[in-house]
Amino acid sequence: MSDTVKLMYFAWVREKVGMSSEVATLPKTAKTVGDVMAWLKTRGPEFKAAFENDTVIRAAIDQTHAQHDASITDAREIAFFPPVTGG
């Protein structure tokens, strides 16, 4: 992956972290979606609150649904959101 990645937050994840997107430099040890969430939790109380119960949070890499163990290699955009409720 490039040095920086765009992180996006939707619905109550967005509300809890207090922003809809940011450009972040991830630690080199972050290899999967789960690793990114673990790192995000260390970034302050609002992130800790948002990702506390992280098993319910869904993710997408470059606008495609991704499991928590999915590799983030070459990812340009990683999004975090609750289970979808459209329709």
Binding site: F10, W12, Q63, A70, A79, F81, V84, T85, G86, G87
Partner: protein, 157 residues
């Protein structure tokens, strides 16, 4: 064969007409319209706000539509999903399927809605009369409805 995400309302009759006009090979048209339900007496009508993930939404809907076209002999399909603030009674989503035969049209429309409900990145927030907002929880019954179409999981792993 098109998907649209929009704030504006849609007209089922207009959309059906533009989808099927001039194609006399169509024998069956199924439309599904999803609407904002009103509240109960205990918890009166709330307004709803629909958030989505621009870009991914369209990609997901097109992928769902392509999957339906691969599974059933369809003459035409149409998906419209609204976003933004919506009041009780207002339209949320429209799915239209057209085919030679009714079974394909019925099954494909149900499939499109099941997939849309569990794959397309939309989120509903209800705001009650006191201004209190609540994000709508996903329903396990929607996941179950989607699983009946397949055992495979298309998410990256």
């Amino acid at each position: 064969m098109s998907v649209t995400v929009q704030e504006a309302d849609f007209d089922v009759a207009d959309e059906t007409k533009s989808l099927t006009e001039g194609d006399t090979d169509i024998g069956a048209v199924v439309t599904f319209t999803g609407l904002v339900r009103g509240g109960t007496t205990a918890n009166p009508a709330a307004t709803m706000t629909l958030e989505h993930y621009p870009g991914m939404t369209e990609t997901e809907l097109e992928s769902i539509e392509a999957e339906a076209l691969a599974r059933w002999p369809l003459s035409a399909t149409r998906i419209i999903h609204r976003v933004g603030p919506l009041n009780p009674g207002e339209n949320i989503v429209l799915v239209i399927t057209a085919s030679r035969h009714r079974q394909a049209a019925f099954e494909a429309a149900a499939f499109l809605m099941d997939y849309l409900k569990t794959k397309a990145p939309f989120w509903k927030k209800e705001t009650d009369q006191d201004g209190q907002g609540t994000w709508v929880d996903a329903r396990e019954s929607d996941d179950a409805a989607t699983r009946r179409w397949t055992d495979t999981d298309k998410r990256r792993s």
